[in-house]
């Protein structure tokens, strides 16, 4: 605990630093034990070899063997150290926080200590009315959002790719560069512009709607429409990626396939579904999973476009369009609820991990080398 006499502050123990130092020690300790084990094992082997009358290496010879055979290990060492301290350390730290009461305003070091509370925070998340209502609602929307954001951009992308690659399109390069623009402009700027476009009262979109005789739509003030607007905006930002990718795949498809299909009397629709689609799916499906994970954590768009709004009376520290990651942001930076945020991020990790593993296993591209035969 922190104490103070005049201008001397005794900073005392800082629980979080102790925790980090503990984890660093643990990692170093494991390294040490491992090295020790290897050493003992090697000594034992050499001893046995000597008992059997073998000749042991001199120091010089050992060095030469080390340089000859151990070179890959030398190269790997830095990356192992970096992985241990830049990936594994924060991961363990993040998980450990979930089991403490590290939260504002009463359990913030250095003024007060942080304690282990076991699974209490997990229990709170599912049992306390204020928390579980928010969690279930936000979680449901996050899944829905991730799926629809991925699927819509994928199909709009494929649509534009097909259009751009079909015969008789003029100024192909021009169209391609135009459609890539939304992807190329920093989304930070364009999302803020989008927010003004969707303004329910003064935004151009509603004004056009009124001009053509439709009634204006409460884009950002109604939860349903706000969600819809988010998905639409995401399509705008997301489809050029798929369009470019699929255009590339399509140009590499052998023309003879189509010629053969035409000889057999297949129409355009059949050609698309039987030739183009499978080949495109084959090359792009693994990226779908990555896009899903990306959308699952698409913080920028949600935060800048709606900031989680419109408000939701039933949620704590979240609005109707908040996804888990933006909720975590509000929990940590606005509310200092580090332990709860940590619990939520562990749950995000579990979800993403399960979906990824399941999907990677199912995607044929990873199992069979040549599906196309």
């Amino acid at each position: 605990m922190q104490t103070r006499v005049g201008f001397e502050i005794q900073q005392g123990d800082h629980s979080i630093f102790l925790l980090i130092e503990g984890i660093i020690f643990l990692i170093c300790g494991l390294f040490f034990v491992w090295m020790y084990y290897l050493n003992v094992k090697d000594a034992w082997k050499v001893g046995q070899w000597r008992d059997q009358g073998g000749k042991t290496n001199s120091f010089k010879e050992t060095l030469r063997v080390l340089i000859d055979k151990g070179f890959p290990y030398f190269l790997l060492t830095p990356s192992i150290v970096f992985t241990a301290f830049l990936t594994i350390l924060p991961l363990i730290f993040g998980i450990a926080i979930a089991f403490t009461n590290y939260s504002g305003p009463n359990h913030l070091p250095p003024a007060s200590l942080v304690d282990w509370v076991g699974f209490q925070t997990f229990v709170d998340l599912f049992n306390l009315k204020t928390w579980n209502r928010t969690f279930i609602g936000v979680f449901g929307w996050t899944i829905l959002w991730a799926i629809s954001a991925t699927v819509t951009t994928f199909f709009v992308g494929i649509l534009f790719a097909v259009l751009l690659n079909s015969k008789g399109i003029k100024f192909r390069k021009f169209w391609r560069s135009i459609y890539i623009l939304p992807w190329a402009i920093p989304s930070f700027v364009s999302i803020l512009i989008m927010r003004n476009l969707f303004n329910g009262e003064f935004g151009p979109i509603n004004q056009y709607l009124e001009v053509i005789g439709l009634s204006s739509i409460p884009w950002l003030s109604d939860p349903m429409w706000a969600k819809f607007a988010l998905i639409m905006v995401n399509v705008w930002f997301g489809f050029p990626f798929w369009m470019v990718l699929m255009s590339g795949v399509m140009t590499s498809i052998d023309r003879e396939l189509y010629e053969a299909a035409q000889v057999d009397g297949a129409n355009g629709k059949q050609q698309f579904w039987k030739i183009t689609m499978p080949i495109v799916m084959f090359s792009t499906a693994p990226l779908l999973i990555m896009q899903f994970a990306g959308n699952f954590n698409n913080f920028n768009l949600i935060y800048l476009m709606t900031n989680g709004g419109p408000v939701n009376v039933d949620y704590s520290y979240a609005g109707s369009t908040d996804i888990l990651i933006s909720w975590i942001y509000k929990l940590t930076l606005d509310q200092s609820q580090f332990n709860m945020a940590s619990v939520v991020s562990i749950l995000i990790f579990i979800v993403i991990a399960i979906i990824s593993v399941w999907n990677f296993r199912r995607t044929k591209a990873f199992n069979e080398e040549d599906m196309m035969s």
Binding site: F7, G104, G200, E201, S316
Partner: protein
């Protein structure tokens, strides 16, 4: 041979290090005994030998002022000072992570509503000269930068550098005189609104109706309050009392008669652009919009908020920016001197000249340059009726529910009593989870 020499060097190095460590330990002990806290006679501080300091302040004008202070300080005490750009609302959060690691600034600018968090986390020194500051500064500034520490004693922590609150902007080309009461405002605003129709609709009055920072003026004007005992008692919530309900009815009236649109569509951008185009007669905002409207060439004036129908002036929230000394500072004495110098009369006046921000010092209210400035005087007038935002950490649990409540009252016209009851319950829940052992 070489090996031996290395071992020798290493051994002597460790010995030396041990000796040094021993020395510094002795020194700290000495220092502790020397600086016994005395309530009445303050020793004159001297910066530590070899001290270097870092200031965190906002960019632009405020950054320039901080640099000026830094230069003056270096001239006087021969202590180098570096100014880094960290926003006054981000400083507290950044200090929480950087401070204990020894990476934080020695002196930083923070909004007063972060103070509770800073004190509870043990990140700031209290104001060494607190006794002198009691009379020198406005009451709101002293209260806003004071907090009850863990010994249960109310102490002043900050060195206030500016005070800000919001008031009524009016377009002088549209209305000649600022309205004295809300009835006046409604009347003139409606007259102006009636002059236009359809696509070029003009508006009489705009404000951000969901933002509790603004709506608090009405809540409190009608007799509602957030926390009891001058905003220090989190167990006594006054957000659903008679006054609160009256303020909700008042908001509904504005919504119905002057501003029939959803909260999400009335953003700060929208209000500013309407005011700049002279399509808006009145708006409520703070000093941060003055330059924006001046640049746009609007002929506008600023007046205190008009009185409500119960005869009360709406009590706007005020924010106090202050310098604080990081409790992890290596040179706390130098840092204290710097914070004191930054909040001296001379520097505050300089700040006013450079940034236009109002100095919270009592003596400067009589200053000629400030008195001549209409804009500043209007904000100062309002500041007399302002209450500082509560700085207890529980306040963080209030903003969200209150925004939700005012928004649903505004957007959906929900029952005021029920809505505020729900908001109160939500605040209580949040405070309860926060305070759970």
């Amino acid at each position: 041979m070489i090996k031996k020499r290395i071992v020798g060097i290493l051994a002597s190095a460790t010995l030396l290090a041990g000796l040094l460590a021993g020395c510094s330990e002795d020194e700290t002990k000495k220092a502790t005994t020397e600086t016994k806290p005395k309530e009445t006679t303050k020793e004159t501080l001297k910066p530590e030998d070899g001290a270097t300091l870092i200031i965190w302040d906002n960019g632009a004008d405020e950054g320039a002022w901080a640099t000026y202070v830094a230069e003056q300080f270096t001239k006087k005490y021969n202590v180098p000072v570096e100014v880094q750009e960290v926003g006054h609302t981000d400083a507290a959060g950044k200090l929480e992570t950087d401070g204990p690691a020894g990476l934080g600034a020695d002196v930083f600018n923070s909004a007063h509503d972060h103070l509770g968090k800073l004190v509870k986390a043990g990140l700031v020194y209290d104001n060494y000269y607190a006794d002198d500051y009691q009379d020198m500064f406005l009451e709101a500034a002293v209260n806003g930068t004071s907090f009850v520490d863990k010994d249960g004693k109310k102490k002043m922590f900050g060195y206030p550098i500016s005070i800000e609150t919001y008031a009524l902007y009016y377009n002088k080309d549209i209305v000649k005189e600022a309205p004295k009461t809300w009835d006046d405002l409604f009347k003139t605003a409606k007259e102006f609104q009636a002059t236009s129709k359809g696509k070029n609709q003009k508006y009489g009055f705009m404000m951000e109706p969901g933002n509790f920072y603004y709506t608090h003026a009405f809540l409190s004007g009608y007799g509602g309050y957030v926390f009891g005992k001058e905003d220090t008692d989190p167990t006594d919530l006054g957000v659903n009392n008679e006054g609160a309900i009256k303020s909700a009815e008042f908001m509904k009236k504005i919504n119905k008669e002057l501003l029939p649109m959803k909260k999400e569509d009335i953003t700060g951008d929208v209000i500013s652009s309407f005011f700049n185009e002279s399509k808006l007669a009145y708006r409520i905002s703070g000093p941060w919009d003055v330059k924006n409207h001046q640049d746009a060439g609007v002929n506008f004036g600023i007046a205190p908020l008009p009185t409500l129908d119960n005869g009360e002036t709406p009590k706007s929230y005020s924010g106090i920016k202050a310098y604080y000394v990081n409790s992890y500072s290596k040179y706390p004495k130098a840092a204290t001197l710097l914070a004191q110098m930054a909040s001296s009369e001379e520097m505050l006046l300089k700040r006013y000249e450079m940034t236009g921000q109002l100095p919270p010092a009592t003596s400067l209210l009589e200053n000629e340059t400030i008195k001549k400035d209409e804009v500043s005087m209007a904000f100062l007038e309002q500041a007399k009726n302002a209450v500082p935002m509560p700085n207890i950490p529980e306040m963080q649990a209030v903003w969200g529910p209150m925004e939700t409540a005012y928004t649903s009252i505004w957007n959906d016209g929900t029952d005021s009593k029920k809505t505020f009851d729900a908001a109160k319950e939500q605040i209580e829940d949040a405070v309860a989870t926060q305070n759970k052992k």
